[in-house]
């Protein structure tokens, strides 16, 4: 198949997917579990891919994702809460000091930009660090950002420890899908550009990469800033999905969750991250919910089922995936036409 025909088919498939999602929404109504899961899955897909860009493609072990999402989510929320509602939202701070609002699409962009700015600042000192030291430093920064946002004195801007609400949210599931798709598309383009190759070179061997004339710091910084930009956008989308944001939720556990998705999907596989996001969200928030409530089959009470059991089963599931799919669902390959062809070839043998 020629490259151009492949591209066309790819776009057609994507369009078909969008159409399917739109039809589902039509059929099930905006308010249904499928749609909720699809929304969150789309948001997480973007965030996971942005993390994969750092961890999987550039080999920078960063655990700061939740911090940048937090920045993005707050930037979005703070600037889009309608004036009329500010008094009630900033109940402890006389309506806060930001007395204007901006259109939501601008705010989404701004969310990315602010997160990217933070990343540029933070990157300057910490990107000199290696592997686990980098991880703990970025984790630390995420925690510091959270503490700052929760700081009482900044309450007039951030509302302190209290949540933000009443800003514009998704009206249709297509919105997060389109935004995520566009963002992931851009990340894909970057990965497959000469810069993306340089990222992978840095991942494979820093010393050799530097000897090939690749400026380590600048490229790491680029990956870090781009990843954070999209994490910020993802944070804004997450805020839209949730309808409320509170700094409290953006703990390291959230970063771990995303890291889990990335690894389960396969480090260095964009399609893996996307698939894993939807699976992970559906599994943890939807399909397994029944495990939490007691179930009677006739007069027989199914043992073990009670609150908390879902999470136990879920963590066992994760362990099983990690132990038996060491390199994740996709390894470092991508979903492609060739793959199916080869699969078929093997099957027909």
């Amino acid at each position: 198949m020629k490259k151009s025909t492949r591209m066309i088919i790819g776009f057609l498939l994507l369009a078909l997917l969008f159409l399917a999602v739109w039809l589902i929404e039509r059929a099930m109504g905006t308010n249904s579990m499928v749609i909720t899961v699809l929304k969150k899955g789309a948001v997480y897909a973007l965030i996971a891919v942005s993390m994969n860009l750092l961890n999987g493609f550039t080999g920078l072990f960063s655990l700061g994702q939740a911090g940048f999402m937090l920045v993005g989510a707050y930037t979005y929320a703070v600037f889009t809460i309608p004036m009329a509602k500010r008094m009630a939202v900033y109940q402890y701070y006389q309506g806060g000091i930001i007395q204007f609002e901006i259109p939501f699409f601008l705010a989404i962009l701004l969310a990315g930009v602010v997160a990217a700015l933070f990343a540029a600042l933070i990157g300057m000192p910490v990107l000199r660090l290696k592997s686990d030291y980098l991880a703990i430093a970025t984790l630390g920064f995420a925690e510091i950002i959270r503490a700052i946002i929760q700081y009482d004195k900044l309450g007039p801007i951030t509302n302190g420890s209290n949540l933000l609400k009443t800003y514009p949210t998704f009206t249709t599931v297509l919105f997060p899908f389109v935004v995520s798709a566009v963002c992931i598309g851009i990340i894909l383009l970057l990965i497959h550009s000469t810069y993306g190759r340089a990222f992978k070179a840095i991942r494979d061997d820093e010393i050799a990469a530097e000897a090939m004339g690749i400026n380590l710091f600048r490229h790491k910084q680029l990956a870090f800033v781009v990843s954070s930009f999209f994490a910020g956008v993802g944070g804004a989308l997450l805020a839209m999905y949730q309808g409320t944001v509170q700094a409290n939720a953006f703990k390291s556990a959230m970063t771990y969750e995303i890291l889990l998705i990335v690894v389960i999907g396969g480090m260095g596989s964009v399609s893996g991250s996307v698939m894993a996001s939807f699976l992970f969200i559906a599994c943890s928030e939807w399909w397994m919910r029944f495990l939490d409530s007691e179930l009677m089959i006739g007069t027989f009470k199914v043992p073990l089922l009670r609150s908390g059991f879902r999470m136990v089963v879920f963590s066992i599931l994760i362990m099983l995936v990690v132990l038996f799919y060491r390199r994740g669902i996709m390894g470092d390959r991508e979903l492609s036409f060739d793959m199916f062809r080869r699969r078929k070839g093997v099957a027909s043998k």
């Binding site: 383009l189 000469t194 004339g213 690749i214 680029l222």
Partner: protein, 279 residues
């Protein structure tokens, strides 16, 4: 007296260990110069000082008369400094990073092969071309550099053909046999469009037959690409065959210098390096 590469009084110390001791040498355009010496003499360290991987304790390196490295002992090293040359190098400290030096036109291969493991041979070469790009992240992402990208791919393919790896372009670099990995490393270095090529034991792990082929190959690319080659090697057949001049070092110090014939017969070199039988 314009040399392609000139080392001036380089001393490299690791704590108390003096790996290179007051080493001065020069290489001229179009030469193949070999650096030989016993194991641990400081050959690889010399390469590392030239390419900016290590910062020498004292001394300067000039590339086409441009100073790329210069340092003198400071702080703790002042006390520890044990080089022969007790007068520290003059001038402000210059410490270019390896990527800058590569950009100026010095490329290298590594003693222990360092290919980009997860990438194909083709991609390895493409990465070598990254530093000559004109695109910025934005134009590269949004494919405003199609022309350049096409050119890069074409050149990379040509390079692979030249080193005889055309057929293996899409193989994973690490799945290639050893000898071909060495060639791929050279192709990748060539991709950075160097003026000076540093080869660290390119024939290690090759059998004599392959080594012979490699020698011919090095001479050929030197001519084709108008390169200057600086080479570390323990295979004496190769070294004696292709080098114009040879520097011999031991314990970081130069012990001999001259044409292959001169060096081969130097008693000091025989004592320290070649051994009796070979002579």
């Amino acid at each position: 007296m314009s040399h392609v590469l000139r080392l001036e009084n380089i001393t490299m110390q690791f704590g108390g260990v003096v790996a290179i001791n007051d080493l001065s040498m020069h290489i001229d355009q179009g030469e193949i110069v070999a650096l030989i010496g016993p194991n641990g003499a400081g050959k690889t360290t010399a390469f590392n000082c030239i390419t900016g991987v290590y910062e020498p304790t004292n001394g300067a390196v000039y590339f086409n008369d441009q100073c790329i490295v210069r340092n003198q002992p400071t702080g703790r090293m002042k006390k520890l400094y044990a080089g022969d040359n007790r007068t520290p190098c003059e001038g402000p400290r210059i410490a270019m990073t390896p990527d800058k030096i590569t950009k100026l036109g010095i490329a290298r291969t590594f003693q222990n092969i360092r290919l980009f493991k997860s990438q194909s041979a083709f991609e390895n070469v493409l990465i070598g071309m990254h530093l000559r790009r004109t695109s910025n992240p934005f134009s590269a992402t949004f494919r405003l550099n199609l022309q350049e990208e096409k050119q890069m791919r074409q050149q990379a393919m040509e390079l692979l053909e030249i080193v005889g790896l055309g057929a293996f372009a899409y193989e994973k670099a690490t799945s290639l046999p050893y000898g071909q990995q060495r060639r791929l490393e050279i192709a990748r270095a060539l991709a950075t469009q160097p003026r000076l090529l540093l080869l660290d034991e390119p024939a290690a792990g090759m059998n004599p037959q392959e080594t012979d082929e490699l020698g011919e190959f090095i001479v050929r690319i030197k001519d084709d690409f108008k390169l200057t080659v600086f080479l570390i090697e323990h295979h004496m057949n190769l070294v004696m065959d292709i080098s114009d001049r040879i520097y011999v070092i031991d314990f970081g110090r130069q012990i001999a210098h001259g044409s292959p014939a001169q060096v081969q017969d130097d008693p000091e070199v025989i004592r320290a390096y070649l051994g009796e039988e070979e002579a």
